[in-house]
């Protein structure tokens, strides 16, 4: 193997064998925000074989303070994060196969994404998707690594099906209305700390050094100078509906999936048609322009402004409406312009 990985192979717990194993593995990162970018860069530099990175959003100026794979041009051009991430990652290490996916990950998408995957790294920003990741992980016996971060606080836990408690064991309910990065802010060092814990655990799993896994729930505050590591193995619940003796994977039930959702507290509503299909973005652009509306577009999406709202249409049919407070207002705009 090349000089590129020499320092990592000199590290005895990885060594040449571990490096070879890493090269044979496929990691899936859900979310290409701050945690996703940090995890993806580490695994790409480390020489993982394949990396799939799925995200529903595009790069904005407010991302640049912490989302390390993106640059100003990506924000100006509103490049989808999966695409901008893949471009940068390929420039960092052309030996790694990078698969960018612009999509809102739901049950169907998840079933497709996890094919051939050895590990899922959570880099999402909400618990709806984490409970979905948790169920798919249990159903297909794929480990996943939870990470969360707000302000200067972060936490992480590694979930091994059949070994550790799952997220449904640890959290008995979905938190509602908690602080988000868009309401409470977030600083880059806290992100890096969470991502460092996630990617260290990822390397252990991918290089098959499972005995070195941490096995505790860690949390910390890099501003208040606190750190905590708690053994939660006693919370593994045999009656758990996701990982117990009779699992029903409640979060994989398509009926509970919402078609509209408020995106991480930033006055944005996502509308997801019940059947995703390629949208004729060029036709839409033409018709908007003919109505005197100023349209911006790139190969993946188009956007336009109406009063205080901004509408972004992705090629797969998903629409983000920014600058609205409620779902109804967003739906009105959606139906007005997209039928």
């Amino acid at each position: 193997m090349s000089e590129r990985y020499s320092r990592q192979m000199l590290f005895p717990p990885i060594g040449k064998e571990g490096q070879k194993k890493l090269r044979e593995k496929h990691a899936l990162i859900i979310g290409a925000g701050a945690l996703g970018a940090a995890n993806a860069e580490t695994l790409t530099r480390a020489g993982v074989g394949k990396l799939t990175i799925a995200d529903r959003d595009y790069v904005e100026w407010s991302n640049l303070q912490r989302q390390q794979l993106y640059c100003e041009e990506d924000a100006v051009r509103k490049v989808p994060k999966a695409i901008a991430a893949a471009k940068r990652l390929k420039a960092i290490n052309s030996e790694v196969q990078i698969f960018p996916r612009i999509m809102d990950v739901g049950v169907q998408e998840m079933e497709e994404l996890i094919e051939d995957v050895d590990l899922i790294i959570d880099s999402t920003d909400n618990f709806d998707i984490r409970f979905l990741i948790n169920d798919i992980s249990q159903k297909h016996r794929i480990p996943w690594i939870y990470g969360g971060c707000v302000g200067s606080y972060g936490l992480s836990y590694t979930i091994l099906p059949g070994v550790t408690p799952c997220l449904n064991c640890l959290m008995d309910k979905l938190p509602l209305g908690g602080a988000t990065c868009d309401t409470a802010g977030v600083i880059q060092p806290a992100i890096q700390m969470v991502a460092a814990h996630q990617s260290a655990e990822a390397l252990k799993i991918l290089a098959e050094n499972l005995e070195s896994l941490r096995a505790t729930l860690i949390s910390f505050d890099v501003w208040k100078n606190q750190f905590s590591s708690v053994n939660v193995s006693s919370l593994r619940n045999p009656q758990c509906l996701s990982c117990g003796t009779k699992p029903i994977y409640p979060f994989l039930d398509y009926r509970i999936q919402t078609k509209t959702s408020l995106l991480c507290g930033r006055d944005t509503v996502q509308i997801r048609p019940s059947a995703l299909q390629d949208m004729d973005v060029a036709y839409l652009e033409k018709s908007l322009v003919s109505q005197g509306i100023n349209v911006e577009s790139n190969p993946y999406l188009l956007s336009f402004s109406i009063n205080d709202a901004r509408v972004v249409v992705f090629k797969d049919g998903r629409v983000l409406v920014h600058g609205v407070r409620d779902i109804l207002q967003a739906k009105n705009l959606y139906h007005r312009f997209l039928g």
Binding site: A34, V150, G154, L170, G178, C181, S234, L235
Partner: protein
Amino acid sequence: MNVFINGDAMVLPETINSVSLLLEHFHLEQKVVIVELNQHILDKSMHAETILTDGDRIEIVHFVGGG
């Protein structure tokens, strides 16, 4: 009362004498939390009746969604 919370020595007002009151004190009562008291994870149903004593070591982990 003198306790350790997430490793930090802290003096609690006398009125804060149970785990539930402690969580309220830190505005965590609405959050999804895991509380460890002297290296034992507490069942959530026990937070109200678990009394704190001087010298307790408490770890509080709350889940956040950002990323």
